[in-house]
């Protein structure tokens, strides 16, 4: 990222129109940003990156409009969210033909687009021309169709939108499972049967690895081994599969293969009501459910134009920072697990986590799946008892824990031996791959959304953006440690200044009126930039509901990080990237 001054939007539009006459036009109401002509997209993106300072491609999302929605003709649309070092998004819309959707790939300009374009191909069937490796990413080969298309219906399809009237015939609940028993709720592509299907090397991701394995060093012929790590492996933190080509124990090529936990969260979200989606967001990154609610309610609040009461904002910050602390503590603990200190550090972290979960239980009523935030506030007020516990944790207990971890690990010779210089991510590469969170800041890029594009009331707090210069696993550990300290600083300020007042704007309502439009809400979640892109057509359900999951996008750089390292380093690198599979696979 460069430090150019952000141009004014109007100025930006004129410059773009001067440079690319006829290719760029402002998006009509209720959309934001620009509409870019399909064939000039790569040029426009290169121009924006190199000359306008929009160096960070955060989000790529495809939307299907089979009919006229919000006053625009039927089309496929790909939406890009670009960012400068500070400030809000520049939204680019690219329209594609409904019958044969083809869009030029942006991978050559922003490597960050690689995984997201594969996702858009997988779920929507939008073909990206020039993509180096356009395969399915979340679904498997025996899946029929592209599920996020509006005309794609599941086998046990009932209705387009919830609540389904078929679930309550004459007031008695009927489970969907009883209507579509197991075995008949599957559909394969025409002419495809699981019995006859033999996975080709290509389909299972072996082809590129075989090619690497065949390359021989003429001076000393060495056989290479293709090794599968996962989906069942103690250190992949879930059902992640890493396909590695080894020479000896050294990684020649490594590729994450995803989708083992895929549940088509976004399709579920489109069927749900606006409010009904909040508990589903808890299940994304199940370690930190509080921060999962937040960007969603932020995005919808932007559409609705609701003002959040001050006390509710403070409570959101308190919960968010506790969640960040919890996540980083557990992450450091699990990293030590992967290093071989089985459970010792991890259990110390989980002990603190228990106290934080107690606090969540006191306020939200649930320990892990909090379902706490609402459009316009939070679900329940913090009691005095909860505030007391929060104060004790933030002022007494948790600082001690951070100091303890610092004392045990930071200067530990063995810990340093295993983490220093492992998985080095240069800053320019981190930005190009769209990395965010501690992974980005561990490479020395001081990009924190709480500072760069403040949401909620973060501009009122005094805290530092922690960075570490080396970009290795140790730097990322240092960033996490520093961020735990900064979280405590924010918590202490927030708890000292916690105002009285309501925690919810307006009255609680079961049905919501969300005006038509699009909105991208993003926060600095513990694992990185968590963004929710929602489109409303004014109805009771989101028209499009997309999650920019930091774990998913941070995994895109995994292959680069691991190249040339040993198998033993892979688990450390993966732990330092810090992923949750619930969020990766959605």
């Amino acid at each position: 990222m460069t430090t150019e001054v952000a141009p004014e939007p109007a100025d930006l539009l004129t410059r773009l129109q001067e440079r690319f006459p006829g290719a760029v036009e402002p998006a009509p109401e209720p959309y934001e940003g620009l509409i870019v002509a399909r064939d000039r997209l790569v040029e426009v993106a290169t121009f924006l990156r190199d000359e306008m300072g929009y160096g960070y491609l955060s989000n790529v999302v495809g939307v299907d409009y089979p009919e006229e929605v919000n006053g625009l003709p039927p089309r496929f649309e790909v939406v890009y969210h670009l960012f400068q070092p500070t400030g809000g998004p520049l939204t680019l819309h690219v329209h594609a033909d409904r019958e044969n959707p083809v869009v030029p790939s942006l991978v050559s300009v922003f490597p960050a687009a690689e995984f997201q374009e594969r996702e858009a191909w997988d779920l929507l069937g939008i073909r990206f021309e020039g993509h180096p490796d356009l395969r399915r990413i979340l679904l498997w080969e025996g899946f029929d169709g592209h599920p996020l298309r509006k005309d794609w219906h599941e086998v046990y399809y009932e209705e387009e939108k919830k609540p389904f009237s078929s679930r309550w015939p004459e007031g008695h609940p009927v489970m969907a499972e009883s209507r579509a028993p197991l075995g008949r709720n599957l559909r394969y592509p025409p002419g495809w049967s699981p019995e006859d299907w033999r996975p080709t090397a290509d389909a299972w991701g072996y082809r590129p690895h075989d090619e690497v394995a065949e390359q021989r060093n003429p001076a000393m012929p060495v056989d290479r081994v293709v090794l599968n790590m996962g989906p069942h492996h103690p250190s992949t933190h879930g059902v992640l599969r890493l396909l590695a080509t080894l020479e000896g124990e050294r990684i020649q090529k490594l590729e994450p293969i995803l989708g083992f936990l895929h549940r088509c969260h976004e399709k579920i979200g489109e069927r749900n009501t606006w409010l009904g989606n909040i508990p589903y967001t808890d299940r994304l990154d199940y370690v930190c459910s509080m921060t999962n609610n937040w960007p969603y309610v932020l995005a919808v609040e932007k559409l609705m134009g609701v003002e959040v009461p001050e006390r509710a904002e403070y409570i959101r910050v308190i919960m968010g920072e506790f969640t960040r602390f919890l996540n980083h503590a557990v992450s450091v603990g699990f990293m030590c697990n992967d290093l071989g200190i089985y459970f010792t550090v991890m259990l110390y972290a989980l002990e603190e986590r228990e106290f934080i979960l107690d606090l969540f239980e006191m306020t939200a009523g649930s320990r892990m799946m909090c379902n706490y935030m609402r459009f316009g506030g939070v679900a329940h007020d913090m009691t005095d008892e909860a505030v007391g516990l929060a104060r004790e944790l933030a002022f007494e207990r948790l600082p001690r824990f951070v100091d303890k971890v610092d004392a045990y690990l930071t200067e530990n010779e063995l810990f340093r031996a295993r983490t220093v210089g492992v998985g080095v991510l240069p800053p320019d590469q981190a930005v190009a791959y769209g990395c965010s969170g501690p992974l980005l800041r561990g490479s020395g890029v001081p990009y924190d959304i709480r500072r760069a594009d403040p949401y909620s009331i973060y501009d009122e707090f005094d805290f530092d953006v922690i960075t570490a210069p080396d970009g290795d696993a140790y730097s990322r550990y240092l960033v996490r440690l520093g961020e735990m300290r900064e979280s405590l600083r924010i918590l202490q300020q927030a708890l000292n200044r916690l105002p009285d007042g309501p925690v919810m704007a307006g009255k609680k309502k079961a049905t919501l009126k969300v005006p038509a439009g699009e909105s991208y809400g993003r926060i600095e979640a513990p694992k990185g930039e968590l963004g929710f892109y929602v489109v409303s057509d004014g109805g009771p359900n989101p028209y499009r509901y997309h999650i920019r999951a930091p774990s998913f996008i941070n995994l895109g750089v995994m292959g680069e990080l691991c190249r040339g390292h040993l198998i033993a380093d892979v688990v450390i690198i993966l732990a330092s990237v810090d992923i949750t599979l619930g969020e990766v696979d959605r």
Partner: protein, 416 residues
Amino acid sequence: MESLSRFLAFLADAIVNIGDWIRGLLLGAGLVDPWVSLIMKAIGALVVAFFPLMVVVFLIWAYRKVAARMQGRLGPNSSGTWAGPYGILQTFADAIKMLTKEDIRPQGIDLIPYNLAPILVVFASIATWAVMPFGPRLIGSDLNIGIFYILAFSSAALVVFLMAGWSSNNKYATVGAFRSVAQLIGYEIPQLLAVLTVVMVTGSLRMQEIVGQQEIPLLFQLPVTAFIFFLASMAEVNARPFELLEAESELVCGYFIEYSGMKFGMFYLGEFMNSTAVAALFATLFLGGWRGPWVEQAPILGTVWFLLKMGLMLLLWMFIQITFPRLRIDQMLAFNWKFLVPLALANLCVIGLVNKGITEWFPGGVSTWTRAGILLMTNVGIFLATWGILAALERREQRRRETWRAAQVGEVEVSA
């Protein structure tokens, strides 16, 4: 009164006396001597073989308990199902569970080596106990090559890892087997050199003789040697900082990944038994084995001292297991070949010269204390020299890193 003193005399060397009593019984029953000796040897072998097994059963419990307490947990206990006071019978429950589990045979295994490996791994660990001196008169067989016998068996046991790793038809197991060769053969060298130093100072390979020479435990005469031996042994038994053969977070279980049920249990057992054997070996070589106060009066106390010293080493082993991260394979090999082997070689040469020098310069012989003092001073010298060399290397490395970083900063100006 007389019966009490006779009882006490019996108790003072109880195990040997029980052995004599059985021998008397057998002779009384009319058996002739070679057969009585054979039967006695068989009983002795059985006892020696069962000893490590019983120790390990409680060691596993103790390990889990200590680990739990260090991690803020309770560990095995009787709060759910009854498992004895403090959960002491948990290991038995686990053993029964393992015995009743299905014996899974993966596809493509090499059946005979696959099934032989778990048996041999326990065999090799038990075999080392044959020459371990439990007391002044208590030893399976006081071979004149005692310590060499132990090292030979632990070295030959390496084949078992290869058998298990290769026959499992699993890439992780193969990588584990490859690592086992690199690690175990590598660390055998400093271990052997450390033992050689001990042998040179005590002048014997016979275990009882090594113990007999230690009026002052060798730990206080040869601390550097003890340090080398300890580190090399940790690597030999695959303990935490060098736990690369199984490396749960990378290789899942290394060479025994495909084993289930009691076959897995055998490897688990073998591992704990090896650790116990190494602790016992350390206690014998460096802590004076069964030597301790009042052993002359009551030889049974020797066994108690021995077990206590062994327990101390095991406790140290546990602490390291629970708190240390694992090294990487290249770091571990570099540590061995670039630090431990040169140090062990230098240590061997210096101690050998000094030891020879003592006998040459004092033809009349010297008191044990003078000798120990000279050896200790030599060790301090070796330690300081090593420290100086390491510090100089570290400083050089630091300078190199700083210039590198300066060059990096000059190249890439990072800001956002």
